[in-house]
């Protein structure tokens, strides 16, 4: 499914230009890929590998290290309930249990309509709002069970479309600044051939 669109290939190239070494753009490009498809499809992994002159195994191996990068489909809304210490002692597991019941899926699962994927996660640095959760990394908390139900309804009904873009869209602000001028160094590639007389 779906390699990067021409527009996103251009975004990828712009990202590569930001760094002294191309591979540094890998994770930013994977975010773009996830923005396009919601998750990292095998085709997109292969495509990103091509763009960066890497092996697909390297792209896959790198992506798999990071929790935010999914190599399997997830719902439109990724609901990440924090269960780390501050939230736990403020009722996070109770909130999680409620979320499981309300959405009808266990952590890691996706609702049948493809709307929600539920996960329990480590601290999301929103401990002042414990118990808290993030939907596509937009933060909500503290939450009661009723708050949770309302949040799910709002998401379902599109009332939060402004605040919460579909999964994969991380940063909606694009860099407008000129490209950096620092010297590239390290893995400098030699240019191609010299066709004397042709």
């Amino acid at each position: 499914m779906a390699r990067l669109s021409p527009e996103n290939v251009q975004r990828a190239k712009d990202l590569i230009a930001l760094y002294p070494q191309a591979r540094s753009a890998l994770i930013p490009i994977l975010h773009v890929a996830q923005e396009q498809n919601g998750w990292l499809t095998p085709d997109v992994i292969a495509h990103v590998a091509e763009l960066l002159d890497l092996e697909a195994a390297e792209v896959y191996g790198t992506a798999s290290f990071y929790d935010m990068l999914f190599t399997h489909p997830v719902g439109r809304y990724l609901v990440s309930v924090c269960t780390n210490l501050a939230c736990m002692i403020n009722g996070a597991y109770e909130l999680l249990a409620h979320a499981e019941e309300r959405l009808g899926v266990a952590p890691g699962g996706t609702t049948e309509d493809g709307m929600f994927t539920l996960e329990d996660v480590e601290c999301i640095a929103y401990c002042g709002g414990a118990p808290c959760l993030a939907v596509n990394w937009r933060f909500f908390g503290p939450l009661t069970n009723e708050d949770f139900d309302r949040l799910v309804d709002d998401l379902r009904n599109g009332r939060l479309d402004e605040e919460v873009p579909p999964h994969g869209t991380l940063c909606r602000v694009r860099r407008q600044a000129p490209l950096p001028t620092a010297p590239a160094h390290g893995a400098e590639r030699s240019p191609g051939g010299l066709g004397l007389g042709g």
Binding site: E55, V59, S64, L194, L196
Partner: protein
């Protein structure tokens, strides 16, 4: 050289080495899993923790990662160290399946050994272990069992750091980390099975070896791989008289322990049911098995009838002693100088033998190394690894002169792409100092960086493509040799012992020991009784002569000109035309189908001898198993045919041949049997002496260095025990002494064939060999045969566009010689005006298109539509 103190003992360390290595040389073995002497340390497994004294007292440090420093104090035996190491071992075992009884590694597993040696008896881990589906194939040769993996990163590091094919990587994080490939994309690397040998546990196993044998049932000898001319040192293992495994042996000057997958698995061919077991004689359209007496008689009769009107083709796969025997047989018994071990796909013997030769180490440490030859990754794989590592480590600068991009291009500081036929033109532009293109200027600067004369520079010289004549390459070499008198050459010819066969005189006008017929004729007339007066024909000449009925008989020594000679039509006509053909071979092939007599010979690991690699390094081949049926060594056949034809080669043992070579072949003067043990010695030995390991040692494999039973070369020769009784003191240390003729020096021939002007509508063809083609070794090794890919023609998309060929289409490819229908692949890396079609034996390929007498091969493409 810093002195360090390990366990109270003063140890002399080498600058920059890791504590673990210094300790090992001092006889203190620190346990380890991830550390490997030939790869960069990662310090991941933590098994090698020792206490190192720092500013704040002793602290646990990974001895594989901390370099030695003056007066460093290290403790490897304290309770703290012991507890840390035991702890690591226990951690490694808690999720390990402990399925040793069904594991291929059982019996030779460091994890098992450590556990036995130091580990806790009973497990304190009572929970469920980690589970993975197992085993899964990661390519046709390797199976992966992730449950056994201990995450040492040896496999991933090898593929990335050494091979440059990072198609296996860690996946996941923490204790869910696995090594794996991506989706269905196999680990497509010419070097993949090194990771099986590197894996310290049984996580990676070789599919061809799986369950074939248990380590304790294995017999082993050390030998030299003959799959190509690099001559990697190997341990050959057998079980019940069958070869079951090759392991790379760490030879410092040669292979650093690595092997290519072909070298690792071609032993399967030795065991092939297709092997010839008894002599065959043609009766009408059929071959019938006959006794050796009858077979030899038939061969002798055929040769007698032909007289001196005979040619001997092949020999590049024979051990040195056998090549010498046939060389002598041709000259003294048949009376012909028509001998050629190359199939028109190499370089003239004068260039190979006459240019000053470099070693691999010299190429890897030269101020600059210029590559003018084939894609090394395909043709001389482990040389590719050595040079790649050297380039990445900054030990040398690579400059490439090539008709097409190769696997090395990305590591070259400059890659100069020439149009087929025009290598010499670019070489001239490179050495002339005026008006240089910036890339030429950079290349020239690299070559002249340290001295105007190119002192220390190494030129790796081979045949970049069989679709252009060797002439242009030799001209280019001449230009470079003249401009850089300080440069040396490493010849990059492919076949296993082609360099040894050339040394043994298996080329027209060349006598054993790198002397010309002109200059050495008298010496060998003395030694042999007679030599032909006239220089003979090379393979092209012989085939042309046969085609024109000027040659009565051909002898094929493990040769298959129909498949190996670049011009297939000529080879076919020649074999059809001769009256009598004798084939001496392990297998039948397309050429021996035309033979009158076929004599079966012993293959690799079925006989002893020596072989010579591309440096001129002579090392041992060892017998491990017995030959099938009545197959016997090539030299015996030459000796017996000589007797039947009224001659006498004058030797009846391998040792007597070796002694005669040492005595008569000037380049081999002083090459005593002792010198050929271990890493071997580069000839002429006077110039170099025995190359001793210059220090770095690799991972040891236990090989009892005995040299095979039965028909042997210098039995039970312990390298450290000095001269064996068979050893005579060298007749002379300087080849030129004792009346020996001088060694050949290269004089560039006049350029005979100039390429035609460029034709705007045609493309010039480039054809090399790939590691896996349908050649003899590969097609008779089931594991390797499956690796062969379909032939495709690659060209720049622009060129394809010009003739309206769309991606995925097939095209009609035409040359003045013939035409083929081929899948075509657009490749933006290809230079415009050039197309690449690699040799793909024995199927249709460039041999249909090439005219061996033309300087280049011009082709035209026509779209035929439809999907490819």
């Amino acid at each position: 050289m810093p002195d360090i103190v390990i366990d109270g003992k003063k140890v002399e360390a080498k600058d920059g080495e890791m504590i673990i290595a210094a300790a090992e040389r001092a006889g203190i073995y620190i346990p380890r899993f991830c550390w490997h002497p030939r790869m960069k340390p990662v310090g991941m497994c933590r098994m090698c923790l020792v206490e190192v004294k720092g500013p704040r007292g002793f602290a646990l440090q990974p001895s594989c990662y901390v370099p030695v420093a003056p007066d460093q104090e290290i403790v490897t035996t304290s309770d703290t160290v012991k507890k840390a190491q035991d702890g690591v071992l226990e951690f490694l075992l808690i999720n390990h399946p402990l399925d040793c009884p069904v594991c291929d590694r059982g019996g030779e597993c460091p994890l098992q050994d450590q556990t036995f040696g130091f580990g806790p008896g009973e497990s304190r881990f009572v929970e469920e272990k980690r589970h993975w589906a197992k085993p899964i194939p990661i390519n046709p040769l390797i199976a992966l069992d992730r449950e056994r993996c201990i995450q040492c990163a040896r496999c991933t590091r090898f593929q990335e750091e050494v091979a440059g094919d990072p198609m296996i990587d860690f996946v996941g994080r923490g204790d869910h980390t696995e090594v794996n490939i991506f989706a269905d994309k196999p680990l497509a690397s010419n070097f993949s099975a090194n990771i099986v040998q590197l894996c310290p546990v049984g996580a990676l196993t070789a599919t061809p070896y799986r369950f074939k044998a248990r380590p304790w049932d294995l017999d082993v000898v050390e030998s030299t791989c003959t799959a190509c001319a690099v001559g990697c040192r190997i341990a050959v293992q057998s079980s019940s008289n069958r070869l079951v495994r090759h392991l790379g042996v760490d030879s410092d000057p040669v292979n650093h322990g690595w092997l290519c997958d072909k070298g690792r698995f071609y032993y399967e061919a030795v065991d092939s049911p297709a092997r010839l077991t008894n002599p065959l004689v043609r009766k009408g359209d059929e071959f019938v098995e006959v006794s050796w007496a009858e077979g030899l008689r038939a061969a002798a009769d055929g040769l007698r009838a032909a007289g001196a009107s005979v040619g001997v083709l092949g020999g590049a796969r024979l051990p040195n002693e056998d090549a010498y025997a046939w060389s002598k047989f041709a000259r003294t018994v048949l009376g012909t100088d028509n001998v050629d071990c190359q199939m028109g796909d190499g370089l003239p013997a004068e260039a190979v033998l006459g240019l000053p030769r470099a070693t691999i180490d010299e190429a890897c440490s030269a101020p600059a190394t210029l590559l003018l030859g084939p894609d090394l990754k395909e043709e001389l794989p482990v040389l590719f690894l050595r040079l790649r590592t050297a380039a990445l480590d900054g030990d040398t600068k690579l400059i490439e002169l090539t008709p097409r991009p190769t696997a090395m291009s990305e590591h070259a500081v400059v890659s100069l792409v020439y149009r087929p036929g025009e290598a010499a033109t670019v070489a001239r532009a490179l050495v002339e100092k005026s008006d240089q293109d910036s890339r030429l200027a950079r290349a020239a600067e690299a070559l002249r960086g340290e001295s105007e004369t190119g002192e220390g520079v190494v030129i790796v010289l081979g045949r970049p493509s069989v679709a252009e004549s060797a002439d242009g390459i030799v001209q280019a070499a001449a230009v470079l040799a003249r401009a850089f008198p300080g440069a040396k050459f490493l010849t990059a010819l492919r076949r296993g012992n082609v360099h040894g066969a050339l040394d043994m005189g298996m080329a027209p006008g060349i006598l054993p020991g790198r002397v010309s017929l002109d200059e050495g004729g008298a010496w060998f007339t003395d030694g042999w009784g007679a030599v032909p007066a006239q220089r003979g024909l090379d393979t092209l000449g012989m085939l042309q002569a046969a085609d024109q009925n000027h040659l009565q008989a051909l002898v094929l020594l493990g040769a298959d000109p129909i498949n190996d000679f670049p011009d297939r039509a000529l080879a076919r006509r020649a074999l059809a035309a001769v009256n009598f053909t004798l084939a001496v071979d392990c297998f039948r092939n397309d050429s021996s189908r035309h033979a009158d007599v076929i004599l079966p010979v012993a293959a690799f690991a079925e006989r002893s001898g020596t072989t010579t690699n591309l440096e001129g390094r002579v090392s041992r081949l060892s017998q491990k198993v017995t030959a099938p049926g009545t197959a016997r060594p090539d030299w015996m056949i030459a000796a017996e045919l000589a007797l039947l034809l009224g001659g006498d080669l004058g030797f009846d043992t391998l040792d007597s041949i070796a002694a005669e070579i040492e005595r008569l072949a000037p380049s081999h003067a002083g090459l005593t049997p002792r010198l050929t043990t271990g890493d071997g010695a580069v000839v002429p030995v006077a110039a170099r002496g025995k190359t001793s390991s210059n220090g770095q040692t690799g991972e040891q494999i236990e090989v009892n260095a005995t040299f095979a039973q039965g028909e042997t070369l210098m039995p039970e020769n312990d390298p450290d025990q000095g001269e064996t009784p068979l050893d005579r003191p060298p007749s002379a240390s300087d080849p030129a002494e004792g009346g020996r003729p001088p060694l050949l020096r290269f004089t560039p021939p006049p350029s005979s064939r100039t390429p035609p002007p460029v034709d705007a509508y045609s493309l010039r063809l480039v054809s090399g060999r790939r590691l896996y083609d349908h050649g003899v070794l590969v097609s008779h090794s089931p594991a390797l045969a499956q690796m062969v890919s379909e032939p495709v023609l690659r060209a720049n998309p622009y060129d394809l566009d010009q003739v309206g060929i769309k991606p995925g289409q097939r095209a009609r490819v035409k040359s003045p010689r013939g035409s083929l229908l081929l899948a075509v692949h657009p490749d933006p890396a290809m230079p415009r005006g050039t197309a690449c079609l690699d040799v793909n034996l024995p199927g249709e390929g460039p041999a249909e298109l090439i005219d061996a007498t033309a300087p280049v091969t011009e082709i035209r493409l026509e779209s035929v539509g439809g999907a490819g």
